[in-house]
């Protein structure tokens, strides 16, 4: 029987900080859901950021939508997108066209932060070049290690893989390349013996 592993023993478990202004040529900010509040704090801290800021905002899967407030911050560019998948092309294009000196910020759910980090690394930035702040839902992006399908916004442990239907235990083992936690079949030895799902990542 498996049990939840504590964060202390899993080195790959990401840690997050608080967004703070750093001098740079442009400021590219990607946020979802409550991550919008972290963007508001960043602008309150350094209002001069606005003229060179580009914000991409994705309303939360839980319904949180701060786009009206973020639009009034006066960023040079503001774009709202329905999902990370929908915003990804823009994000990749901005990173692909940018020059060194660009400051990158990601705020909101772990799934969003991880995907911004993955795309930043693909653009050639060191993995610690972006500033992160976790806000709002603790929902996880999880890859099923059996079928490799990714399930977004996982809040319970175990959960059912949205691709292959296996019952998956959510580990703290994290992949920067996939921007996802690892989900492992919990009833492989005793099929059907699945502990009740607990809401661990509200």
């Amino acid at each position: 029987m498996t049990q939840t592993q504590s964060d202390e023993i899993m080195k790959s478990r990401p840690r997050y900080g608080v967004l703070s202004y750093r001098p740079g040529s442009t400021h590219f900010i990607v946020a979802d859901g409550e991550g919008g509040e972290a963007v508001q704090s960043l602008f309150a801290q350094a209002p001069e950021i606005a003229t060179t800021a580009h914000i991409v905002y994705i309303p939360g899967a839980n319904g949180t939508d701060l786009s009206a407030a973020l639009e009034t911050l006066g960023a040079a560019v503001f774009r709202k997108a329905p999902s990370y998948g929908a915003a990804r092309q823009r994000i990749q294009k901005v990173l692909g066209d940018a020059h060194m000196g660009l400051q990158l910020y990601a705020a909101g759910t772990e799934g969003l932060i991880g995907q911004v980090q993955r795309d930043a690394v693909e653009a050639g930035l060191p993995h610690d070049a972006l500033q992160t702040e976790q806000r709002g839902s603790l929902a996880r992006r999880v890859q099923c290690v059996h079928c490799k399908g990714i399930t977004e916004n996982v809040t319970t442990d175990p959960f059912v893989c949205s691709h292959c239907g296996l019952n998956l235990f959510v580990r703290d083992h994290y992949s920067r390349r996939l921007a996802a936690f690892q989900g492992v079949c919990i009833d492989a030895e005793d099929p059907g013996e699945v502990p009740p799902a607990v809401e661990r990542f509200k």
Binding site: A98, M100, G101, V121, G124, L125, P126, H127, A129
Partner: protein
């Protein structure tokens, strides 16, 4: 045995590149291939100088794809402690020498989209190997190389002939200087910056990049320090139970080795951290010259790097 393990080698070529720089080629004594290395690696050359053993680190400048031998370039330092003078005056083709396995403290980050290299003077050598490596891989790079004058700009013509537009040359005596702020501003996202040269140049390049918002992980530098000459002092080795006298032109590490103690080391230039030693007692001033210890460690007087650092005072006890 401390340090990287040794390769018995024979000097096959000694070439005078200009009035200050000589190039040396080593092949294995047993005729076999040299160990593979990556651009930016160095080797530690062992010199037997009339009973005095000198160990100096030099960047490998030959093509990493060429396993038949290693090449280094040595700039003669007339005011130095004698290692480069020995290489220039005494090392001849046919001579047998021990060199260490390659160690890389200045490797390329191959995840970069582009490699921007800035070299000052003899600091060009690691880049020659790195450019050969990147050229073979189809990597994107650009070199900005500054030297005092045309005569001292070693390898500039060869590099320009080989890599064309990717090589940019600057001569101090002709009033040419790298326009660093503009150069750094124009780099595409995903560029990594590498600098090797005199201390002042390294500090200038790194601080300019940081001011422009370059992330630390994209900045790479290498400077080997020669151990400075200073006043003689004594050091007690607590674990070995030995007291060692360090001469004015000797480094602490050399004095410890001369006393028969096998102390750990790799680069011998204050860069790698291998020889870090705990300080037990210090009545006097620790003279830190390394790039390794943090400011906090230096302030706490808790550690010292015997390869380059010295001591001035009445009593020093280290854990060795």
């Amino acid at each position: 045995m401390s340090g990287a393990s040794k390769i018995p080698a024979i000097v096959t070529e000694v070439v005078e590149v200009n009035s200050l720089i000589k190039r040396f080629r080593f092949v294995r004594e047993d005729g076999g291939p040299m160990p593979g290395f990556s651009g930016g690696s160095h080797t530690v050359v062992e010199m037997e100088d009339d009973g005095r053993r000198r160990l100096n680190a030099y960047s490998l400048m030959s093509d990493p794809a060429d396993r038949s031998g290693y090449e280094i370039s040595v700039r003669r330092d007339d005011g130095g402690r004698g290692g480069s003078m020995f290489m220039h005056a005494r090392v001849k083709p046919g001579m047998r020498m021990q060199i260490s396995q390659p160690v890389n403290l200045f490797g390329l980050d191959l995840r970069a989209k582009k490699h921007l290299m800035i070299a000052g003077g003899i600091g060009i050598t690691p880049f020659i190997a790195q450019m050969a490596q990147l050229d073979g891989l189809g990597g994107r790079f650009e070199l900005h190389y500054a030297a005092r004058d045309r005569e001292l700009g070693a390898y500039m013509n060869e590099l320009s002939a080989r890599y064309g537009e990717r090589v940019h040359r600057y001569y101090d005596t002709e009033g040419q200087a790298i326009d660093l702020p503009t150069l750094l501003k124009g780099q595409p996202l995903g560029t990594h910056l590498y600098v090797c040269g005199p201390k002042g140049m390294i500090n200038w390049v790194l601080s300019t990049a940081q001011k422009q918002g370059w992330p630390k992980g994209a900045l790479h530098s290498e400077e080997f320090l020669a151990p400075p000459v200073g006043e003689a002092f004594q050091v007690d080795l607590a674990l070995s139970g030995v007291t060692v006298n360090v001469g004015a032109t000797q480094s602490m590490l050399e004095a410890i080795e001369a006393a028969g103690i096998d102390a750990p080391y790799l680069c011998r230039g204050g860069a790698c951290g291998q020889c870090e030693c705990k300080v037990r007692e210090a009545e006097g001033e620790l003279l830190h010259y390394d790039h390794w210890l943090s400011d906090e460690q230096k302030e706490a007087r808790s550690h010292i790097m015997p390869c380059v650092s010295r001591f001035k005072g009445s009593r020093l006890v280290i854990e060795l």
